[in-house]
Amino acid sequence: MTTSKERSSLQERAKQRTTGAFRCLSCFKRLSPPKGATHYTCPQCNYEWRVAWFTPEEPRIRGPVWDSYEQLTQDRMKGGK
């Protein structure tokens, strides 16, 4: 049977998994939208993301809200950030 040594590496790495969150693609802040949310705005950088759920507990970014995306980016670029 599998030894404890054989198991350790897998399980140690698995402990580092996060659930219910994704990183903002603009500022990399970890975001946890309310369950079922279809849109979520990053409180840190203000980018609004369209959200999809690949399980009832796990969200992911489907895409940006394009209308505000370009304007926000232009503003950031002008601000030198």
């Binding site: 049977m1 599998t2 054989e6 198991r7 590496s9 897998l10 790495r13 698995a14 580092q16 998994r17 659930t19 990183r23 693609l25 603009s26 990399f28 980018y47 993301w49 999809a52 690949f54 399980t55 796990e58 992911r60 970014i61 489907r62 895409g63 940006p64 394009w66 370009e70 980016t73 950031r76 670029m77 950030k81």
Partner: protein
């Protein structure tokens, strides 16, 4: 028993077939699959061999764990000297063929010569038949598999095959099995076409032989739990590889309109969640529980009602962003057509997008295209060009050649607009903001290639602590590692580490999605040591397995050098350095690859590999890997096979 495996040498010119056992020494050195094929490629071809001549080889190798129940261990490697690049030809494929080949009694095939008329091979019960395939010539990749099953009256037969693209020597024709499984890159399908080899079919009832069956089964289960509980696997179960689009296109990392833009704006119809609406289920390969392959029917247009599988992320880019199309239907139709004809979707889309940019710039005209309007986003033209390439009709005949050959035929400075490395087109990713990914494609052994060394997890902004856990194993590494994908520091080590990792899983026959490719918490060397021991009885340490992967990768380097590659080939096209990204988030906008920093990265990458400043493996390195018996003439004196 579990390591009593055979290799068969088939000469299509003479009809002679010879079988030999695989020595344990060779197995320990190269494991199987890609690594063993690289050994066979180096040993059984002469320098300068014509890729489409009878002296090139068509190689087929099962990975070491293929046929066992180790998670996702279906991958079978195919190889030869590439007609696309003139360097290493190498690709691998999942599905069910590899296990069936092993059940038929064979692990490796070396096919040489050229048949006088079309043939196919039938492997069964430790025997190989060379059978007439004249009646199969001209069939697509589905029909040929069905017809072989009918002819041999056995629905369980699995085949590798080529479609019309391989017969027509499209330089990026691929090898197919099942509906959509593809050994896609470097044009191995054209090698088969040049040999009049339509298919290799297999059916067997031999005992695979598992060293410790109960223990292997228990450990396999643990690995499966680890893999299927990972977020990336859950995502792929639902969306397939198109899930990647959410991150890459939202950020601005998608090559669009050839290389003019880095994002396809307002393309919601080809987002994975939109594609998912058309899926009727998912399918998987042998011994895989993830099932990442979508099943769909085309819903509208002339192909309405047609069934196919996929699309992969590569088809989203090839027939979406690259060509400026925002229609899901175009992606699904073109995905179907490349499956049908047997072509590499990535190269097909790249060649079409290149032609579209040439058309936009007036280098190609309506006269050149036979009246086809190659304006960006012209869905009908894109679909029509896929047909024309496969059949080598009109402008399609030029685009069916390799990128560099096509540019030479068109002239007019058209090569300037190719987006390639070593003559193979880039994935539809835009690597200008990501130096690690840019280095990966520049130095890859088979041309621009995300599947040879891409540190894809570099995009995840992982903490340095996690990166160090991954990249310091099984070989210690205490150099820099950073979470910022825009950095240049530490990236050469990541690229080299991933090269050896991917080489290793390609030797084992394990799917890359079940290792540190798209997810950080996936099995690696320690787990593979256990899988190998329990399934085959071969005792190897994690470091020995790492070195086996490195050995195969080094041999690819040696093969390329033998065929004329130099440091000058480890480069990006000028646009990476001269044209900053115009779109995307602030973190990626205005980015380009700095020439000086890039040169330093290449130097560091060579140093990590223990290659000299010209990218040639040092004598010491070759001795350490026991590759020093390979001499400069290309002959291999050890005679292990």
């Amino acid at each position: 028993m579990s390591l009593s495996r055979k290799i068969a040498f088939v000469d299509l010119t003479t009809g002679k077939i010879e079988t030999k056992p695989i020595s344990k020494e060779l197995r320990r050195k190269f494991l199987g699959g890609r690594g063993l094929d690289m050994y066979l490629l180096y040993k059984h071809t002469k320098p300068g061999v014509d890729p489409l001549g009878p002296d090139n080889v068509a190689l087929i190798s099962a990975g070491l764990l293929v046929g066992t129940l180790a998670s996702a261990s279906s991958r079978t490697h195919v190889g030869g000297k590439s007609p696309l690049t003139g360097y290493v030809g190498s690709a691998n494929v999942g599905g069910f063929f590899g296990p069936e080949m092993r059940l038929a009694g064979f692990d490796h095939l070396v096919i040489r010569g050229k048949a006088e008329k079309p043939v196919y091979l039938y492997l069964h019960d430790d025997e190989i038949e060379i059978r007439d395939a004249e009646h199969l010539w001209g069939t697509d990749t589905r029909d040929v598999q069905d017809l072989i099953r009918q002819e041999l009256a056995d629905d369980d037969i699995q085949s590798l095959c080529i479609g019309q693209a391989g017969e027509n020597l499209v330089k990026y024709a691929c090898i197919r099995t099942s509906i959509k499984n593809a050994a896609g890159r470097t044009g191995i399908g054209a090698i088969w076409g040049s040999k009049n080899l339509k298919a290799v079919a297999a059916k067997g009832m031999r005992d695979i032989g598992i060293a410790q069956p109960k223990e292997a089964l228990a450990y396999n289960k643990e690995i499966i739990n680890q893999v299927t509980s990972a977020k990336v696997s859950k995502t792929m179960q639902k969306l397939g590889t198109p899930f990647i689009w959410g991150v890459t296109n939202s950020t601005g990392l998608v090559r669009t309109r050839n290389f003019q833009l880095n994002q396809l704006v307002n393309a919601d119809d080809i987002e994975p969640e939109s594609i998912e609406e058309d899926l009727v289920g998912t399918a998987g390969c042998f011994a895989c529980q993830v099932h990442c392959r979508g099943k769909y029917f085309i819903k509208e247009g002339p192909y309405k009602g047609t069934y196919d599988e996929g699309p992969e992320y590569t088809s989203q880019g090839a027939f979406g962003a690259e060509v400026g199309c925002t229609s899901k239907n175009t992606v699904l139709v073109c995905n179907h057509l490349v499956n049908y004809y047997g072509m590499d979707n990535l190269e097909t889309g790249s060649m079409i997008s290149w032609a579209m940019e040439l058309f936009e710039k007036g280098i190609l005209t309506l006269e050149d295209t036979g009246g086809l309007d190659l304006t960006w986003g012209n869905d009908e033209t894109v679909i029509e060009l896929v047909h024309k390439i496969a059949k080598r009709e009109g402008i399609g005949d030029i685009l069916a050649d390799s990128p560099l050959e096509a540019a030479a035929r068109i002239g007019k400075d058209s090569e300037r607009y190719l987006v390639h490395v070593k003559g193979m087109s880039n994935l539809h990713s835009d690597e200008r903001p990501t130096p690690a990914l840019a280095l990966n494609i520049a130095v890859s052994s088979r041309g621009s290639d995300h599947l040879r060394g891409r540190p894809a997890i570099d995009l995840y902004h992982l903490p340095e602590k996690v990166l160090r856990q991954i990249y310091s194993n099984p070989i210690p590494y205490d150099g820099p590692l950073t979470s910022d994908y825009r950095d240049y520091e530490g990236k050469p080590w990541q690229v080299m580490w991933q090269e050896h990792l991917y080489s290793t899983v390609d030797c084992l026959g394990i799917c890359k999605y079940h290792t540190v490719f798209l997810g950080p918490n996936m099995p690696a060397y320690e787990e593979w040591a256990n899988l190998i021991r329990l399934n085959t009885g071969l005792e190897l340490t994690p470091e020995e397995i790492y070195r086996a992967g490195e050995r195969g990768y080094t041999l690819e380097r040696l093969f390329n050098i033998r065929e004329g590659m130099t440091r000058e080939d480890d480069k990006l096209v000028d646009r990476y350095h001269d044209e900053p990204t115009p779109l995307g988030l602030p973190v990626v906008r205005g980015r380009f690859i700095d020439r000086d920093k890039f040169k330093i990265m290449v130097d560091e990458y060579y140093a990590h590999h223990e290659w000299d400043e010209n990218g040639v493996p040092t004598r010491e390195k070759l001795e350490a890997l026991s590759l020093n018996t390979l001499d400069k003439s290309g002959s291999e004196p050890s005679n292990l096979v």
